[in-house]
Each structure stands twice: as C-alpha cells, then as structure tokens.
C-alpha cells in the first residue's frame, strides 16, 4: 500500500500540488488521471522520490519514505519498478542486458539463474527471440513490454507506470494495459499508473484518482467515473464527440 498525506509541491511561486492525500491499495491497478499540466506526473515523481515534496509525507506500507535516510530510500527503491513514458531502456544494452541489469547490480545470482529469470520475465510479457536485439531495433509496443520485463525482474512490491500508452495505437495500448493489470493481480503488486487515456480508465481502473489544477478532485473506480455528476470529470471523461454520443 502506498499513501500520500497532505502533499504540497511548489515550483517557484506556482503551486503544482496542493494538499493531496490519497491511498493506493495492494493488488489493485490504481490510476492517476487528469489533463496535461494538472500535476499528475509531478505527483508520481513525488511518490517515487524523483522530486522532493515541500510539505507532506509519502508512506510505503506505513514506512515514512519522506523521512528516510538516503540508504533507507535506496533500499526501498529496490522494491520499486517503474515504467517510463519513453520506456527509458538503456540504448547501449541489448534486450537481455536491459532486463538483467538490476539483477547484475543487486543480486548475487549465478549467470544461469539470471538468464533464467530474464527469460521468465520476457516470456511473461510475450517477448520471444529478441534477447540480442538493441532497443533501437524494437517497435514502440515491444519497448514498453521490455521495460515492463525490466521493471518486474526484481519482483517489485510497487510498480509505477508513467503514461504507458503514450505513442501506442489503441490495440497495443489495451495489450499493455491488460498486461500491467494481470501482473498486478498475479504478483500482488501495488501498481500506480499515470494516464489520460480513457480506454485504460474503463479497462483497468480498480481505483481512480482525478487530479485537477494540482488538487485531488475526485476518487472512485471505473464504474463510478461514468456516472458521476462532477463537472470537471465529465469534461475530462467525455471530451471526445464519440464518448458524448455514447453517453447519450
């Protein structure tokens, strides 16, 4: 379980996050949604510690992450996997080396054990016969799947995904969404996904937190979001003509 308590973040005079308190449950796919510039990426970076919060605390299973020493934070981070918007695979490494990288850095596994673990992770994300390819030789969807394989290679307790569908076609987006959702349930991970893709919201949103102008505006699940009266959410959810017609 990940919990944010009264988080504030300022960039100069600009209040980017204001009094955000939210809880993300274990074994569920938790979504942070909102328009571009609403502060959802900053919120996620605050949760993982890439940006320090100005006020408030972040808890990982009741462990206060904000108050931890560098060494304690480092240890917590070994329990975190993250999927970045652009996949963030290491360009100079092959697919196999990318997935094996955290294992090389933090485990004392033998080479065979590491190879087995890499193959398990790659098979789980349906990547076959690509071990020796470089990231530049992969499609966008494959890159995302390799990044997921790397993120789960250390069997994380917490998985963060920053806009996993960006740059993907709708069909591949659904494949990635379902994969993340399945992995979350299978390994009982606390997954937090940052998205503005409504297909993801409807498909996998076990819990949804709507961020608007740096504030937590609404919380609920994929059923609630379609029936809420909240004006800002309706403007966001039914932004396209197609969805407005479907609602009617």
């Amino acid at each position: 379980m990940i919990e944010a308590r009264n988080i504030y973040k300022y960039f100069g005079d600009k209040k980017v996050l204001q009094n955000i308190s939210v809880r993300f449950e274990k074994g569920k796919t938790n979504l942070i949604i909102g328009q571009s510039g609403s502060g959802k990426t900053v919120l996620m970076k605050c949760l993982v510690g890439l940006i320090e919060v100005d006020e408030g605390q972040v808890y990982y299973d009741n462990r206060n992450f904000s108050e931890m020493s560098l060494l304690e934070k480092k240890n917590i981070r070994k329990e975190i996997g993250m999927l970045f918007q652009g996949s963030a695979l290491f360009d100079s490494m092959t697919v196999e080396e990318n997935v094996m990288f955290p294992l090389n850095m933090f485990t004392k596994m033998s080479k065979e054990e590491k190879k087995d673990r890499v193959n398990v992770c790659l098979n789980r994300v349906n990547i076959e016969n690509a071990n020796n390819l470089l990231p530049s030789e992969l499609s966008g969807g494959m890159r995302k799947r390799v990044a997921i394989a790397r993120a789960i290679s250390m069997k994380p307790k917490y998985l963060f995904c920053d806009e996993p569908n960006s740059g993907l076609d709708p069909k591949t987006s659904i494949v990635i969404d379902k994969l993340i959702s399945e992995i979350t349930t299978e390994f009982q991970i606390t997954t937090v996904i940052n998205t503005h893709d409504m297909n993801s919201v409807i498909e996998i949103g076990d819990k949804i937190a709507f961020v608007y102008e740096g504030k937590l505006w609404w919380e609920g699940n994929k059923k609630d979001i379609l029936n809420t009266d909240n004006k800002e959410i309706n403007n966001f959810v039914y932004a396209t003509e197609l969805l407005r017609k479907l609602k009617k």
Binding site: F11, V48, K78, M82, A88, F90, D91, F106
Partner: protein, 291 residues
C-alpha cells in the same frame, strides 16, 4: 565605503552565496539579497559562477562515492577505456604525426644561421612536443572529441529518462555514469600522450629525411641530446589533470541537461568550451608550479 570595506563586502556576499547555493530553490534570503528564481540564468554572472562551482562540487561528491557493485564498475571502466581512449588513438596519431612534421619544417626555417647546429631541429622538436604540443594540444583535441561524446551521451540519457530509471532502481547514477569515464581517461590518456610523443618525433623524422632539411642521423642525435626525464613526468601529470577536467566537466554538463535535442547540443558545446578554457588555465598554473 572605502576600498577595504568594498572588498570585504564583495567577499562576504559571494562566500555566503557559495555556502547557501543549495538553498537556491527554496528562495531563502541570502545575506544581502533574495533570489526569487531557481534559474541561475536570471542571476548575475558572478552568482552563476559560484552556483556552477557549488553544483559541480556536489556532483563530484556523488561521483567519488563507493560504486554500487565493483564488478559492474570494473567492467564499465574497461568499456570506457576502449571507447574513450583506444577509440581516440587514430585521431591522436594523425594529429601527432602532422604536428611533428610541421615543427621540423618551422624549426628548420627559423635556423638560418650556420652558428646554430642542425641537430637543434631534432632537439627543439622533441622539447616542444614533450613540453607543450602533445599534452596540451592533444588534450584540447580530446576535449572536443571525448568531451562532446561524454556530454551528449549522458545528456541524451537524461532527456530520455534513462538516468531517472537508474535512480529509481536505487543506483547512484552519477557514480555509475561518470566515475568509470574519469578513471579510464586519467589512467589511459598518459599512455595516449606517450604514443603521441613518439609519433610526433616520427612525423618529424619523415619530413626531415624526405625534404632534406636535416639528415636522419643528425635529427636522431638532436632527439637524444640533453635528454632529461622530468619534462616527460611533467607532461604526464598535466595530461592526467587535463583528462580529469575533460571527463568531469563534460559529465557535469551532460548530467544536468534539461529539455530535448537542442539542449543536448548546447550542453555538448558548453562542455567543450569550458573544458578547453580550464585546460588552458590549468596549463598555465601547472607550468608555473612544476617547471
């Protein structure tokens, strides 16, 4: 305010700036003024210099910490030795040969009086190559080649979130990315410069023999005359210091790149410019100290 007070005022203000450079982002009041921005571009030049020195020092503190995994660090260092040092052998060889050749022609042209013996050509070429041309000019060339490579590589990793990915894994990204490059260049660049010295003298010999400026025997006699090993030691010390400047400054500019492709290019240019200026400045200081 008299001159003495002005100097004290100036020093106080800037020492305080240096000490509190970390508090820049939290808008704390710094002794004589408040900075309402976290962009050093908006501050004055002197402040920017202190800001960069403080930021660079903090980065170096992170760089020179214990590696997360020694075996990975060792492997990375060997990879960097191959990429940065051995990969520069070709350009260093070409530059050195031509540098030696030109030196012989220029020295021969300058010695027009029969009172100066011809072996002076070999002697002057050797001294010029060892004392200045090989360590300094070749390091300046390497600042362009290696510096821009390091800066653009790390800068691209920054803008494509690869450095964030390292941090999320709990890896000290500054140490993992920059330290192997520093160690590789500080250790191997002196060998590169020794090769450059030999190749420079060889280039001089080719020109000396084929243009008839001086005979082979006389040129070689000149190379061997009055040989003292201290200038070689001095040149190697300089080279190692220059290697540290090139890798750390380029690493710094790459590591703090923000934005996209345009900023990566800008960081790369800044890395080469600052490395070159610092090499020239350090060259002057080290020459005064060591010779």
């Amino acid at each position: 305010m008299n001159i003495k007070s002005k100097i004290i005022f100036f020093l106080n203000r800037n020492i305080v700036n240096l000490l509190f450079v970390n508090n820049l982002k939290s808008n704390k009041k710094l002794f004589f003024r408040t900075y309402k921005t976290d962009k050093p571009e908006d501050a004055d030049l002197l402040f920017k210099i202190f800001y960069d020195i403080g930021k660079y020092s903090l980065l170096m503190k992170r760089v020179f910490s214990k590696p997360d995994r020694w075996s990975v660090f060792r492997k990375q260092t060997f990879i960097e030795m191959d990429n940065l040092c051995l990969g520069s052998l070709g350009i260093v060889a070409i530059i050195s040969i031509f540098m030696g050749a030109v030196l012989v022609i220029q020295t021969a042209y300058s010695i027009s009086t029969p009172l100066v013996p011809l072996y002076t050509i070999g002697f002057t070429t050797r001294q010029s190559l060892i004392l200045e041309f090989c360590p300094t000019i070749v390091s300046l060339i390497l600042a362009g080649k290696v510096g821009s490579r390091i800066s653009s590589e790390i800068g691209t990793m920054r803008v494509t979130e690869q450095i964030d990915a390292l941090e999320i894994m709990g890896i000290n990204s500054a140490n993992y990315l920059i330290l192997p490059k520093i160690i590789a260049c500080v250790l191997l660049n002196p060998f590169l410069i020794i090769a450059s010295m030999f190749l420079g003298m060889f280039g001089g010999w080719i020109v000396a023999v084929f243009t008839g400026a001086v005979t082979s025997n006389v040129y070689i006699f000149g190379l061997q005359s009055f040989f003292d090993s201290y200038p070689v030691f001095y040149a190697l010390i300089k080279t190692s210091v220059f290697a540290f400047i090139i890798t750390s400054i380029s690493g710094y500019h790459g590591y703090y790149t923000r934005g996209g492709a345009l900023e990566v290019g800008r960081s790369s240019t800044l890395a080469v410019v600052y490395s070159s200026i610092l090499i020239l400045l350090t060259n002057l200081i080290l020459t005064q100290l060591l010779l």
